[in-house]
Amino acid sequence: MTEVVQSPAGARAAVPRAATFGGIGSGPGAQAPQGPDFAAIHDSAEFAALRSRFRGFVFPMSALFLVWYLTYVLLAAYAKDFMSTRVVGLVTVGLVFGMLQFASTIAITALYVRWARRQIDPRIAEIRAAAGVDAR
């Protein structure tokens, strides 16, 4: 059997696959006798810590940029005079705020990448190693 489309039942028994990126040829036929014990990993303290740390960052950050974006949109929609105030020459407050949306998007991206590399990736690597999955 070369490649079998996986039903999720087949996908569940995860097999550590060394040379096959993306899981080529990992159909049910290629199941190992035992996959990682997901329930045990899930209930471990390490995983709980990883998850709360992850959520503790991405949820507030998502709320932050959503609120900031909506503030901007609502200002553009309902505070036209304010947004039309000239700052320098013909450059308006609205244009400056628009540019700030660009800046904040880039800043949040950079912040997240740095944070994930320091706080999340090592923890994931630990859990993966403990589960016997090849570290990346």
Partner: protein
């Protein structure tokens, strides 16, 4: 076409334009042919074997995302309506934070080929996959329609084809090339087309931007002054409200649109599918970073190009030209770089349409073959060869639909159609993706309610909106059955889908599969098992 027609033939050289475009087609066809030695497995055909790097995939993501609507539509909207057009740019860009923080890595770790893989992971397979496939097909179709509608406008400019029949013929040829990309190249070939296209597109807009800024002594204020002077709206183009500020209804419409833009990107099936083409979650993250980088540059440039078009071409001339708003960028190119630059810009726009439609086609065909055929019809027992065969067949069928749709939708404003596709994506997919990734009680009933509730309310609201009837710009302007005042349904349909997903879950007696929920939580965060 009413009004004096500024024929493209008077300002461009169709032969040159065609030559530039033909060069792009030949190069990409060669690349597609070279990289597509084998597409026999599903992983190869759908996900390029997961072998692209984060950088490659990031550029391809921007290629998929920077559609003709972004390029022609936004530049045109800024040129004509000023500041309100800029809001599209910002929404499209900020939207990527949703992908970065909440979606990309988790989706990459959980699924294999389609959005349905993630949504159906811990739910009952058949109904959820059917819902996921339905929403994928509907969204891809709307998005595709937007692209193909733009094709007509570009054709008119590029080849000086004025007649509808001639334009239809060219749209057909474009569609045929696109089908060829998908059939021969699979995901790998399509990704390379995106990479090539995105690189040329970004290079092109950056050069135009630098030139424009240089022309105005690198003073944004001077550029804005000229833009206001040559626009019939005057200095109003620098203020919000040019397009949406007419009545309280249009203002609310604008808020609705903004919501759809920012929440839609993370629900677009062809964007989600891209995350499967990289080997791991870190590369998926890197993809989004690259995408954010390239798109910041691009959307920043659209501001300058849009105002530049108003400044150098003037709003009246743009509106009198064959492609109306959509021809702002090509006309500007002619103004600053003559026939050569016009040829390049028009060819890039054309290539953009080609590439984006190819990306949509492979996504829609993957969803049909993987979710519907392999997992619903064959209950997960289809072999790879037959699944890929079904995917290819579907690609042809979808391609034909795209061609027909493109011919019918020829002439509609493209940016607005894309906004509708975003509303669909934000309503049907985002709520269910987030619930299934972050809420362990979420169950099959909730998924179905969320998806069909969002999709259904969206379709219903659009049907009774001024888009379809009751306004001079409607699709059917002669009859009036308009009940819902907003052109963009997002502000209602997005909350509806979140509420439906929640209610479906808590009201049903069905219990969520605890083991699968734990497995999904572990997989999505750590990538174990993938």
């Amino acid at each position: 076409m009413s009004g004096p027609v500024l024929a493209a033939g008077e300002i461009g050289d169709p032969v040159l334009n065609t030559a530039v475009f033909a060069a792009f087609v030949v190069i990409t066809l060669y690349v597609v042919y070279r990289v597509s030695s084998r597409n026999s497995t599903t992983a190869d055909y759908y996900a390029a074997g997961g072998r692209f790097t984060g950088m490659q995939n990031g550029i391809a993501l921007s290629g998929d995302f920077l559609s003709a609507a972004s390029f022609l539509g936004i530049a045109g909207a800024i040129a004509i309506n000023g500041y309100d057009g800029f809001l599209y740019s910002i929404g499209f860009l900020v939207a990527w934070l949703v992908n970065l923080l909440l979606i990309a890595e988790l989706v990459r770790n959980t699924g294999r080929f389609t959005m349905g893989d993630v949504l159906a992971f811990r739910m009952r397979q058949r109904p959820v996959r059917a819902a996921a496939a339905t929403s994928t097909l509907v969204i891809s179709f709307f998005y595709m329609l937007a692209q193909m509608a733009g094709a007509g406008a570009v054709v008119a400019l590029l080849l000086n084809v004025q007649g509808k029949a001639g334009q239809a013929l060219v749209i057909t040829v474009v569609g045929a090339i696109m089908i060829f990309y998908v059939l021969v190249g699979g995901m790998k070939g399509t990704t390379w087309v995106q990479i090539i296209k995105a690189s040329i597109l970004i290079l092109c807009v950056v050069l135009m931007t630098v030139f424009l800024l240089g022309k105005f002594g690198f003073s944004l204020s001077a550029l804005l002054e000229q833009a206001a002077a040559n626009n019939t709206k005057g200095e109003k183009v620098l203020e919000p409200g040019g397009q949406y500020g007419k009545t309280p209804t249009t203002t609310l419409d604008f808020v609705s649109l903004s919501l759809a833009l920012i929440l839609g990107a993370a629900g677009l099936p062809h964007v989600l599918m891209r995350f499967y083409t990289v080997p791991n979650a870190t590369e998926a993250r890197r993809s989004v970073v690259w995408a954010v980088g390239t798109m910041s540059v691009f959307y920043g440039a659209t501001l300058v190009i849009g105002y530049g078009a108003s400044a150098l071409v003037g709003s009246e001339r743009i509106l009198q030209s064959t492609g109306r708003e959509n021809s702002a960028a090509p006309l500007l190119a002619f103004e600053i770089g003559g026939t050569v630059l016009l040829g390049i810009v028009a060819a890039v726009a054309f290539a953009t349409i080609l590439a984006v439609v190819a990306g949509l086609t492979i996504t829609a065909s993957a969803s049909f073959a993987h979710d519907v055929y392999a997992n619903i019809v064959r209950k997960g027992k289809a072999d790879a060869a037959s699944e890929v065969r079904v995917a290819r067949l579907t690609a042809v069928v979808i391609g034909v639909f795209a061609i027909i749709g493109g011919i019918l939708a020829n002439g509609q404003n493209v940016a607005f159609l894309v906004a509708l596709a975003f509303a669909f994506a934000a309503s049907a997919n985002l709520s269910t993706l987030l619930y299934s990734l972050f809420w362990k009680r979420f169950n099959t009933t909730g998924t179905l309610w969320g998806m069909y509730g969002g999709l259904g309310s969206c379709l219903l609201l659009v049907f009774f909106s001024p888009v379809v009837s009751g306004a001079p710009t409607s699709i059917v302007s002669t009859v009036d059955f308009q009940l819902f005042p907003l052109a963009n349904p997002g502000i209602v349909s997005i909350p509806v889908s979140f509420v439906c997903g929640y209610l479906g879950t808590v009201l049903s007696r069905e219990r969520a599969d605890v083991d699968k929920a734990k497995e999904m939580a572990v997989r999505s965060l750590t990538g174990i098992g993938r």
